[in-house]
């Protein structure tokens, strides 16, 4: 799995591609966590999952772990570009109740900036 991070209008945008499972969940942590530590203020993070074709509970755990870290820092985390299967998974586990889901990266950045 590849993990690419960039900053867009104050948001940390992380794009994932591949399978997000036990083996690759560590890559997500390794990319996001240092960026969160660098942020001295409340961070805003967007996870672009358009390229994720498989995600198991380890991947869910990694996303939830980042969510918890960001929340503790007073920031916000959102996901975008979910495939139908991933959306189903998010709904099944109730994650849509706490993690905003947007259709695209741009919508997510605008949404978080706007305080949605």
């Amino acid at each position: 799995m590849s993990v690419k991070a960039k900053h867009d209008r104050g948001c940390l945008v992380v794009s994932l591609c591949g399978e997000l499972d036990l083996k690759t969940a560590g890559e997500l942590k390794a990319t996001v966590d240092p960026a969160l530590l660098e942020a001295r203020t409340a961070p805003t993070v967007v996870l672009d999952l358009s390229g994720v074709n498989f995600m198991d509970s380890s991947g869910m755990g990694a996303i939830l772990g980042r969510y918890r870290t960001v929340s503790q820092m007073g920031g916000k985390l959102a996901v975008c570009s979910l495939t139908p299967q991933l959306r189903k998974l998010f709904e099944l586990t109730g994650l849509t109740r706490i993690i905003p889901v947007f259709a695209s990266q741009d919508d997510a950045v605008v949404g978080l900036q706007g305080g949605e």
Binding site: F54, M55, D56, L64, G65, R68, L86, T93, G94, T96
Partner: protein, 791 residues
């Protein structure tokens, strides 16, 4: 059996024989004294009870009346013994104020009765000496055995004896004055103690110091005196008649039957004897009633626990039988007895209904019954202590919760504090301090307010390095022109804001921890409340023999099944119902351990707990998390916590347990075979299914897994189930990687609707094969299927 004769003639002959035998001896006089005492003391004590209500003046007036009535009684050809006894009784009961009233009333009685006027000096001498002794020796009461009570009784004895001796010597009785004096003193003391104990007991109830039911606790001394008092009352009413009905015998019958119904046959028989003796004291012709009442009490008490009217009826019949056996050749005897027993039974029935709340549900007055009472006493004590314990935990929970809220309120207002800090760091010891903060206060204040607001806004909008470039250009013009430390303003304010944020973050973490602990305390309080309910209701959760907990290992492809005997609550009829369970589980490819944990446990009361947990991730770490969650949840449920509270507690434990990710889904089902329903609680878990014949219901309730957030928002779903229904619970590995989730879900529903298999093990086995075929015979995640059949 007595020769046939009129009962009156028998009475006269017996009494005459008794009188002749007694003669002038002290024994005969004591007999006469007992007879007279029993007749009069009842009305006097009733008056005393009535005097307990009302103001002090009211009570004193009743004491006067009491003394007056007592002065009308002759005991041992002496008038005044009863008055002296009542003075002693008032002292024993701790009512010294009554003694004066009794003395005044008695004196008035003597004065009004010319024939008794000669007793007045002796009585006044007794009263004066008694009061003198009490006042003089009161300081020594602590050193006297039994304290003040002993002092009062001793003083009464001394006074009664000495006064009688002096009177005897003056009257020329000589040495014969001694036995009479002893008898007098004894009677005064005995009657005084008796009445004093009774008055003390009644006083304690009327003045709210004791419960009325405590008087009827057979293990308390006061009860004995109260019953003796009633017996004396019976004797006192012996001579009263209303036509053919004698209230004394009616009251005696009622008292015996009430005692028997509430305290058993032993106490009933005893009270029968006591009641009979009470009647004998009044009139010796009632001697056969001792046997009648004893048998009545014995038989009535034998049926204790049944319907009241059955006990009373049989007791009456038994008493009548004894009357017939003791037929003294007079038809009036059994007829009178039948009338009195029947009316007494009716009175007892009404007393039982009206005053049952006062009557202690005491066991039979036998040794074997005492442990039950002891147990109940201990149980009541345990209940009270547990209630206190529950209150403590509830208080701790609410205190922690409120403290957190207070913290939140404090954090919102703080600009003045921030400004003070900035002022301290920038403006203290500055030469222009007065100019800025006295002459131009509002401008300075506004400038700092602007700085703080802008930096705070920039912090919420962008990261630190991006905003820094803008900050320097945002120093207000006022500060540029007037502040000598203008270049330090922004960095200092930024530092202050950063420190504030860190403080807020720390406090919020503390608040989260407090909420976690608060929820756990609340859970403990709930467990304790459940224990209290069980103690009070006497219910027990019975777990019948058979497997109560089944757990299976997590090796790949291992099949398992269990038969769990559901416990039947005590008192329920019918044999225990059992749930059949079938389990299929497999670990992720390459792993030897599945991250799924499952647990089936018999909670008792026909309830079976099924828990399926899925730790985040897979392998051993996930297994540890899910095992912890399922086991902890089970333990909390067994302890008595509700499902909701148990989930919240497990969630809080998961939160504080590990720093890194520690999540688990929980799929909980509590099957109640007696009430025919199943209650689901789903924490981030997959849907469950209920097969009822060909109909399949899909149960889903999306909520977060546990261990993510402190606050949980979830619902429980309760569904009716019927015999033969199959409940299917699955882990997310069964549904596959995602793209096939809907397809697999539909296939499961289709299979359940079509299959005719009824064995849970066969169902999970076959379903697993079907699904693996769909997914290419490979499950890429830990997968578990649990099927439960409703009996």
């Amino acid at each position: 059996m007595m020769p046939a004769m009129e009962i009156d003639e028998y009475q006269r002959n017996t009494y005459a024989s008794l009188k002749k035998a007694s003669g002038d001896s002290g024994v005969g006089r004591l007999s006469g004294a007992a007879v007279l005492t029993s007749r009069t003391i009842c009305s006097l004590v009733v008056s005393a009870i009535g005097s307990l209500q009302g103001s002090a003046v009211h009570k004193w007036a009743w004491a006067v009346l009491l003394g007056f009535v007592s002065s009308r009684c002759t005991v041992v050809v002496e008038t005044g013994i009863l008055a002296k006894s009542l003075i002693l009784a008032a002292g024993i009961a701790g009512r010294p104020g009554m003694t004066g009233g009794i003395a005044v009333g008695a004196a008035a009685g003597f004065l009004l009765d010319g024939t008794a006027l000669r007793h007045l000096p002796r009585f006044l001498a007794f009263f004066a000496l008694f009061e003198l002794l009490i006042r003089a020796l009161n300081p020594l009461a602590a050193k006297i055995r039994y304290g003040r009570r002993g002092l009062v009784i001793s003083s009464g004895l001394v006074c009664a004896f000495s006064i009688r001796v002096v009177h005897g010597l003056i009257g020329g009785d000589g040495i014969t004055a001694l036995p009479i004096a002893c008898a007098t003193a004894g009677i005064v003391a005995a009657v005084g103690v008796l009445c004093g104990e009774a008055l003390s007991a009644v006083y304690s109830v009327w003045e709210g110091e004791a419960e009325a039911s405590s008087l009827l606790d057979m293990r308390r001394n006061e009860t004995k005196y109260v019953f003796t008092l009633i017996t004396v009352l019976i004797g006192g009413l012996g001579s009263v008649a209303a036509g053919q009905v004698r209230p004394a015998q009616v009251l005696a019958s009622a008292m015996v039957m009430v005692a028997a119904m509430n305290y058993g046959c032993a106490i009933g028989a005893l009270m029968g004897s006591v009641a009979g003796i009470g009647l004998v004291l009044a009139d010796v012709q009632h001697f056969p009633m001792v046997a009648v009442y004893s048998v009545t009490g014995l038989v009535t008490g034998m049926l204790r626990g049944g319907r009241h009217w059955e006990s009373l009826m049989l007791g009456t019949v038994a008493g009548m039988t004894v009357c017939l056996l003791l037929d003294q050749g007079c038809r009036a005897f059994p007829v009178d007895s039948f009338i009195h027993l029947s009316i007494g039974a009716g009175l007892a029935f009404l007393i039982q209904i009206w005053f049952s709340h006062l009557l202690v549900d005491a066991p039979a007055g036998t040794a074997e019954g005492l442990p039950a009472r002891d147990g109940r006493v201990h149980m009541d004590s345990a209940r009270r202590r547990l209630q206190s314990l529950s209150g403590v935990f509830e208080l701790l929970a609410s205190t922690l919760s409120e403290a957190g809220e207070k913290h939140k309120a404090c954090l919102t207002d703080g600009f003045d504090i921030l400004l003070q800090e900035a002022h301290r760091r920038l403006c203290d010891n500055c030469g222009k301090h007065d100019a800025c903060w006295n002459s131009r206060f509002f401008a300075s204040y506004d400038a700092f307010l602007t700085i703080f607001a802008e930096l705070e806004m920039e912090a919420s909008e962008g990261t630190d390095h991006a905003g820094k470039r803008r900050r320097d250009s945002r120093i207000p013009t006022y500060l540029r022109q007037h502040c000598v430390n203008s270049t330090r303003v922004v960095p200092v304010v930024a530092e202050i804001l950063e420190a504030k944020r860190e403080e807020l973050a720390a406090l919020e973490q503390m608040q989260g921890a407090k909420e976690v602990i608060s929820s756990q305390f609340r859970g403990i309080a709930e467990i304790v409340d459940r224990l209290i309910e069980e103690i009070c209701s006497g219910e027990e959760s019975v777990i019948q023999s058979g497997a109560s907990q089944v757990e299976f290992g997590a090796a790949r492809g291992e099949l398992g099944s269990a038969r769990v005997e559901s416990g039947a609550a005590r008192g329920q009829r019918g044999r225990p119902r059992s749930v059949d369970v079938g389990i299929y589980c497999t670990a992720r490819s390459g792993n030897s351990v599945s991250g799924d944990s499952r647990l089936i446990y018999d909670l008792g009361d026909a309830r079976t707990l099924i828990v399926l947990g899925d730790g985040m991730g897979s392998g051993e770490t996930a297994a540890v998390e899910s095992r912890f969650a399922t086991t902890m949840f089970k333990e909390l449920m067994v302890a008595g916590m509700s499902q909701r509270s148990a989930v919240e507690v497990v969630n809080s434990l998961m939160l504080i347990r590990r720093k890194d990710e520690s999540f688990s889904t929980l799929d909980i089902a509590v099957v109640d075979t007696a009430r025919r329903h199943v209650e689901f609680t789903k924490m981030g878990s997959c849907p469950s299914y209920i097969k009822s014949g060909k109909r399949v219901r899909r149960i889903s309730s999306p909520s977060l897994p546990i261990g993510i957030l402190p606050g949980l928002d979830f619902d429980t779903v309760k569904c009716a189930v019927y015999p033969g229904d199959i409940i299917l619970m699955i882990s997310d590995g069964v549904l596959g990687p995602g793209e096939d989730m809907d397809v697999i879900d539909e296939r499961i529903i289709e299979y359940l609707g079509e299959t005719r298999r009824t064995c849970p093990r066969e169902i999970v086995n076959e379903l697993a094969d079907v699904l693996k075929m769909m997914m290419g015979a490979v499950w890429d995640d830990d997968a578990t299927l649990i099927a439960v059949k409703i009996p």
